[in-house]
Symmetry: C2
Subunit: 300 residues, 2 copies
């Protein structure tokens, strides 16, 4: 089964669209990579690229993309409303298919070494980091670009790769590995938003729920429904069905039923595999049995 | 979304492997087609090819494959243990992805005209036929090759395409359109096989159950389980979840629970889509959201 790696870098340029195109071109030029999407925001002065492909091609595309961004972006001139710490601000690697976290971390570290050699201050986050508190890009980005020079004097903030002496042009990069995120909402037959809020508290990590669930309750205006809106950050360790059944169970204590659910955006086939295994009780069901999936393996 | 058509022709040659390879080569030579599998059986004196791709490429591969089989196979010399009626014995087209039955039938009829022009007696079956009794290749194959000459004198057995005068070299072809078949078994916590048999009767078409379910009950030796073994012939009109929930419900009347289920062989993503919609109550969930599926669309 073909390995597929995704990368979703955020670069600190969203105004000079010629520059953005030149950076995106570096991805386009790698034949093993598919550019799924890219977008820019002039207020944020920031662009987000999404591409995937075989790991070696994604590594190559990411190195070339980053090198071009470092060539074109000077952080000393950067202004924008979104928090940022460097020209190649965030580089998350996402194992999409037939890859585990460990091999993805090895790839992230390989790209980290490359960026370090280019003079970038590289901070690892999430699974790429051995520091448990560095869970997100924002945990790395504290104090932003403007605070970076002073922070580099603090040994606890020495970069994982790259110089300890401030590089004012490039700034730093938050480089991480994360699972594909699944945006999953459960709509409840109630207009009482506090029920959705209670359930959100029951399932989310920060208030004692599942480790890889972020959740909030909100009301769906004009629909007589309340919603538990969730991000599932690791569908293997905290699978969809377990979260849904917990929501259902907690809703039942209020006499409230589930009206429907929705996935917002992409869902990896592997996450559905576990749903099928649970609900259909097909214990040995494998994504390898899915015709479309075997087609993908054959297109190599 | 890319259209994917599958074809699973059975040809009446399984002894002369050079000939089989020459026939298979015709499929290999079409660039838009992926040969998933081929196998031969010397006792049956028969080979089965499985390939898929974009519809135009599959049409081309099928025409070339059939022409080569007609060139190499002489039915007057054919002996084998499997029922057969012609050199290109059965040609089922299976819509795999983003295709409906009507457009698949149009393709089957296009290939039927081609075979008719080559002098083959073509009989349509399943969705390709307007005769409701011609549901399977075997309904077309009654009396086999040996009975074909006489049968062609009966106006009710005039072929859909091709000559009414007997072609002894080529014989006839059963040419049909069918949905991908899903082999689905439900294992029950009972050693009483009669319970599995009763449930099989409850769900299968011939005894009053679901239109597109074939089923039988059997015992799983050494596992203290009985099994309802099923073929689901149309997962859109008779979806997996409905059959499973009916089995579950019927089993409960005997105090028997479902130990587990299994899919044997390939499953189309669209069949899982409906499972997810039902069990996760994700009413609007679409295969388009599956990352692997969008990858497939992008590889064009």
């Amino acid at each position: 089964m073909k390995k597929i790696l995704m990368c979703v870098p955020n670069i600190s340029e969203g105004k000079d669209l010629d520059a953005v195109e030149l950076v995106v071109d570096e991805v386009r030029q790698i034949s093993g990579v598919t550019l799924l999407d890219y977008s820019w925001d002039q207020n944020h002065n920031r662009s987000v690229l999404t591409y995937l492909g075989d790991p070696q091609s994604v590594i190559e595309a990411t190195k070339n993309m980053a090198a071009k961004a470092l060539e074109l972006i000077d952080m000393r001139n950067h202004q924008g409303s979104h928090p940022r710490i460097g020209a190649v601000d965030v580089v998350p690697f996402v194992p999409v298919r037939n890859m585990n976290i460990d091999e993805t971390v090895a790839i992230a570290h390989q790209v980290g070494r490359f960026l370090g050699e280019q003079g970038v201050h590289v901070y690892y986050y999430a699974q790429a980091s051995d520091k448990p508190e560095r869970t997100t890009p924002s945990s790395v980005r504290k104090g932003q670009y403007e605070g970076l020079k002073d922070r580099l004097k603090d040994p606890t903030w020495y970069p994982d790769k790259g110089p300890t002496e401030f590089n004012p042009r490039a700034g730093a990069t938050a480089l991480g590995v994360r699972m594909p995120l699944i945006a999953f909402n459960v709509n409840l037959h109630t207009t009482d938003v506090s029920i959705a809020e209670q359930i959100a508290k029951a399932v989310r990590r920060i208030s004692g729920g599942y480790q890889f669930v972020r959740a909030m309750g909100l009301s769906l205006e004009g629909q007589d429904l309340a919603q538990v809106s969730m991000d599932l950050d690791n569908y293997i360790k905290t699978p969809i069905h377990r979260v849904l059944e917990t929501v259902r169970c907690e809703a039942a204590r209020y006499g409230v039923s589930v009206a429907g659910c929705e996935f917002i955006g992409p869902v990896p086939l592997a996450a559905l595999e576990e749903c099928i295994r649970f609900y259909v009780q097909a214990h040995d069901f494998s994504v390898d049995q899915v015709i479309e999936n075997s087609l993908l393996s054959l297109i190599d």
